[in-house]
């Protein structure tokens, strides 16, 4: 899914201040065409500002933003056809019905396919004759996503799209995204979310934002690979030296003979040492994004709490 092409998004020393307060500070980042990039960070970290900057809704205080190799300031309305955006709160025109909203959106896109539009709307099972004002937040989010997908942009920006969706809707949302969008060639997605399990499922790379700073960007596979957890229940007291092997970052005792070892490095030697010590059970976990996020962000549950 993730191929190295020329950058779809190139951001350099990006800054955004609101009344002298930095919302984004010194962000430098390249996102390749065809990549699904996840943005992770607590509330107020600058995720929404970053996405709005890419969409041209917010103006940068400093630095440069290039999308499709063009400065954002050169972006015309026509070029914006290539970028889709689903806002954190998808506030759509409430006086329109879904059918009218789809028709209104379609007027701006010459390649709008009415048949595909009908098919998508049937797929998400939303009442087309109903006024948007009667829609729940989840229904509005699905509407916004479908409208964005129907425009077939090369770059899709999704700001907390999973918020307010139940687990089934979240799955449907992601399936729709994966089946209908990322399966197409060179389609790039930048998605911010607090639902880290879902991000872990779809992202090629993840960037961690905190207080407007991008403090870690890494491929998902590398993130998973660099940190693992071994859960082991020994048959008898293990030798103390085992817990002091280089590469073990943390040891948590779960029961008298049950231990959880957080391994950062030297995995094979530690694994070998554990497996040679008599044990009842031994399991290896990749630490998930949520655990990594907590660690990088210095605590909190991923919701800024």
């Amino acid at each position: 899914m993730f191929m190295m092409n020329k950058p779809c998004v190139a951001v350099k020393d990006l800054e955004k201040f609101y009344h002298a307060k930095p919302a984004l500070a010194g962000i430098t980042l390249n996102i390749q065409a065809g990549e699904i990039f996840g943005l992770v960070g607590p509330n107020g970290a600058g995720k929404t500002t970053f996405l709005k900057l890419l969409m041209g809704l917010v103006h940068p205080t400093g630095g440069t933003v290039k999308v499709f190799d063009r400065e954002l300031s050169e972006f015309t309305g026509e070029m914006r056809r290539e970028v889709g955006y689903v806002a954190e709160e998808p506030n759509l025109y409430e006086f329109m019905t879904l059918r009218e909203l789809a028709a209104f959106t379609g007027e701006f896109y010459p390649g709008w396919d009415k048949t595909r539009c009908r098919r998508y709307l049937e797929k998400i099972k939303l009442p087309v004759s109903e006024k948007i004002k009667n829609f729940s937040r989840g229904m509005k989010t699905r509407t916004a996503l479908v409208l964005a997908l129907l425009t077939q942009p090369r770059l899709l920006l999704l700001d907390e799209p999973l918020e307010g969706l139940d687990p089934i809707s979240r799955r449907e949302f992601l399936n729709l995204l994966l089946e209908e969008f990322t399966s197409l060639k060179d389609r790039t997605v930048i998605i911010s979310s607090h639902h880290l399990v879902e991000l872990e499922r779809i992202c090629d790379r993840v960037g961690f934002l905190k207080q407007g700073r991008l403090f870690k960007v890494a491929p998902m596979e590398l993130l998973k690979g660099e940190a693992k957890t071994i859960r082991v229940v020994f048959q008898k007291e293990p030798p103390a030296a085992l817990f002091h092997l280089p590469g073990i970052k943390k040891v948590q005792q779960e029961s008298k003979l049950g231990f959880l070892l957080t391994v950062e490095d030297n995995f094979s030697e530690i694994y070998e040492a554990c497996s040679q010590t008599p044990h009842f059970v031994m399991e290896v976990y990749h630490r998930n994004l949520e655990e990594l996020f907590r660690e990088y962000a210095g605590g909190g549950d991923g919701n800024g709490r």
């Binding site: 709005k52 041209g56 809704l57 309305g77 914006r80 056809r81 506030n91 329109m96 007027e107």
Partner: protein, 259 residues
Amino acid sequence: MAVKELVRKEFRHLRWIIITGVLVNCTTALLIVGAYYFLKKFVGQIPAETLLMLQEIDIIHSVLSIFSDYSHYIWSQWNAKNLFQVAALLVIIIAATQYAGEAGKKTMTFLLSRPVNRRQVLTAKCLAVFLALLLFFTTGTVVLLISSRLFGYRLLNSMIVTAGFLTLLWVYVYYLVGSIVSLFFSEPLPAGVAIGLTGLLLSVPGLFGGLRPYSIFYQMKATGYFLFAESPFGSIIAALVLTGILYFAALRVFQTRDY
């Protein structure tokens, strides 16, 4: 294409405000003509000697003198009172809804993430309001002219239409001022209050004799044209120049605003 779609959307968005404004305006036009008919009839029933006595009282004299000239009565009640007041109120609501309202409801974010630029969005909004005001003035004036004819009164049609056109232009100038104010807000209610207060500020020159023509409401009433027989072209040119300046000022504010 984009502007046409956006204008259509504006009309749908503002349809109830426009419909209410048009209905209020037409009803007012009808009532003004009807009121003349009934008041004239009432005055006609007052005995001549009583009328002479009453005319010695200043205020009653000036009220009664209005009934001697139907066109003057219509101007004083239509252009100089109801028309510009209803229209000003209408543009306060519209400007507050179009910019601060869309920012507050975050539909502006949705709109600006379509493949349109901000110039097109602003142009469509301004165009939609001009067309709505044109509809508002045309329907009101037509009702006024037809009802006057039905009641058998002779009205200086061209003067009333010209005065109405001046009112339309200056109300539009006020709308553009209101749009700029509204662009600084994210809620329609405070924006509406601020636009109203700005209107009051623009009316301040009207409090001073020599500065009266610089009051926006003096121009909206077309006082110079109707009462003092001034040429309307000076007022028209001033309104058009201000329209251009205010449009570009609004565009500048809109293009630099974050959503």
